[in-house]
Amino acid sequence: MFYQTPLRTAVLLLFTLACIYAAFTAEYFGVEILTEIIILAMIVLALDLVAGFGGMVSLCHGALAGVGAYIFAIFTAKLGLHPLLAMGIAALITGAVSWVIGTICSKTHGIYFIMATLAFGQMAYSFVFESSYLGGDNGMAGIPRLDLSMIGIDLFDSKQFALLCLACLLVAYLFAWRILTSGLGRSLVGIMHNEKRSRALGQNVVQIKAQVFALSGLILGLAGSLSAQHIMFISPNLLSWTHSGEALVIVILGGLGTLIGPIIGAAAFVLLKHEVSNYTDHWHLIVGIILIIVVMAGARGIYGEIEHRIAKRCAKRVQKEQAPKQAKEKTKEHSLSHAGLKKEH
């Protein structure tokens, strides 16, 4: 079950502060990288929502964010709609598309689920690539950014745009948090732990999975429309399956099923990639090896490992202090170590 522990809140605050600091101090490209990290963080947050709490290992989340980007581009660059409205539409349509994909794929499990989502991602890619209306392989240019000049915000300034993205990420986080602590989110975690029993209890398994997948799609639609605005250009590459694979890598790197972990993972991944590619063109090799090591080391990921260690230390301390009380308490520690640090603590 998901609990927003103080540790998670602290890390989120730290991340937010670090982003704000970076936005104000970094050079131009540093701010661009920051924006890239924040948008990617939204995508992996959405992925963790379904993969970490519903066991739905989706290999089409990158493509769905791409769908969001294209929908935003269509409604602004082609149809001339106001960007704010287009962002809403992009989120809704991506959510709807995700719902359809979720409904179909929820019937499959394990590797079949992964492959089924991959198939839908590739379908979207092929469709966009071959659509002359969408510019085919050339992509689409002329995508506007949101105009907030009436409230004194200039989004053409990369710093201010980065901060807008950060705000969106925080909203997305709160949204995901809310979903996970709602009836739907609770049921989803139950399904992940035992789908058969959930059914026997009367849970509408396919509906629950599909709905969370759709809600995750809302976040992706928002992320996609931000990434379209960030680059002000989109191409079918956005939908390529390697992006979806990378998103999965980041979720694991940061800590599956922790919600905050993947955000940290996104930062770590992008920074690592940029650092390594400064030294060699063969950054794939380095990133690949690091990935293998991380997964083999226990797959808790960066944040997962931190949480695990802190929980272990706390558990030890509790044990020392309350040694005589024993049995009853012991069970509580376990739940503690699972949820990280619980609120009461």
């Binding site: 079950m1 809310r178 979903i179 602590t181 709602s182 009836g183 739907l184 989110g185 609770r186 049921s187 975690v189 139950g190 992940m192 732990h193 035992n194 058969k196 029993r197 959930s198 059914r199 026997a200 209890l201 009367g202 849970q203 509408n204 398994v205 509906q207 629950i208 709905q211 809600l215 009853k328 069970t331 509580k332 376990h334 739940s335 699972h338």
Partner: protein
């Protein structure tokens, strides 16, 4: 309350359910007996929809549910426990019961409010925990507790959905005598409104709790009647009861 007629199922050449029919009144407690491989669990699986029978009908409260999904039948009030623990290993006992309670109060699909913090859900969790004796273990992780407690949770989950028909598949399998006693007391406290079908191998318990009995063998109903009739049935005594005592 529960009416099964002419249920048939075969796996290849093996006929696992042969024209099984039975009829339970509301509040009736039926024990199903039969040797291993008699098709008891398979019958349960068909009742709840995990296996689709080849033919026959299943009615709950007069409603044909034979073509409904597992979850729809469960929401309609048909609840079951498993012979082999089928639990939510990664979460706590309280959370598990909460999930079940959320379904019965239609809060499992709330997408804004927390079902586990809901007052109705919490009340059911509390009641159920008390019923099955888990009130001290609500915070414990399911994977961390003993087999006995897991067994109690297995029944608790089925109860927390607030069913009208409860199917229990060997609820006391693998537990010691004191727990069988506890289970016996639990049955005593359960509402007489609840219709219960139990697959049970503990003869004392079975004869004690049963209003009626069905005996299956090779997928066929070979006996149906009251415990008293069963005791007197020579056939059963010789063929089944005798055989079990040796085992």
């Amino acid at each position: 309350m529960l009416e099964v007629s002419d249920l048939c199922k075969r796996f290849g050449a093996l006929e696992v359910t042969k024209n099984v029919s039975m009829r339970l009144e509301k509040g009736e407690r039926r024990v199903i007996l039969g040797p291993n491989g008699a098709g008891k669990t398979t019958l349960f699986n068909q009742l709840v929809g995990e296996i689709i029978p080849d033919s026959g009908s299943i009615k709950v409260n007069g409603q044909e549910v034979g073509d409904w999904s597992v979850e729809k039948r469960a929401r309609f009030g048909l609840s079951r426990s498993y012979q082999q623990n089928t639990l939510f290993d990664g979460i706590t006992i309280g959370e598990s019961l909460g999930l079940a309670a959320a379904v019965s109060t239609s809060k499992s699909m709330w997408f804004w409010k927390d079902s586990l913090q809901d007052a109705d859900v919490k009340a059911i969790v509390r009641d159920t925990a008390e019923q099955v004796g888990l009130e001290d273990n609500l915070g414990a992780r399911v994977s961390d507790v003993s087999y006995g407690i897991r067994r109690q949770l297995e029944v608790g989950l089925a109860l927390a959905t607030r069913p009208s028909v409860l199917l229990m598949d060997e609820p006391t399998s693998g537990v010691g005598p004191e727990m069988i006693g506890a289970f016996h007391r639990l049955l005593g406290r359960l509402s007489r409104e609840l219709t219960i079908v139990i697959i049970e191998h503990d003869m004392d318990l079975a004869f004690d709790v049963a209003d009626s009995m069905t005996v299956l063998n090779y997928g066929e109903v070979v006996f149906e009647g009251t415990p008293g009739e069963a005791r007197e049935s020579e056939m059963l005594q010789q063929i089944y009861l005798g055989a079990w005592d040796d085992a």
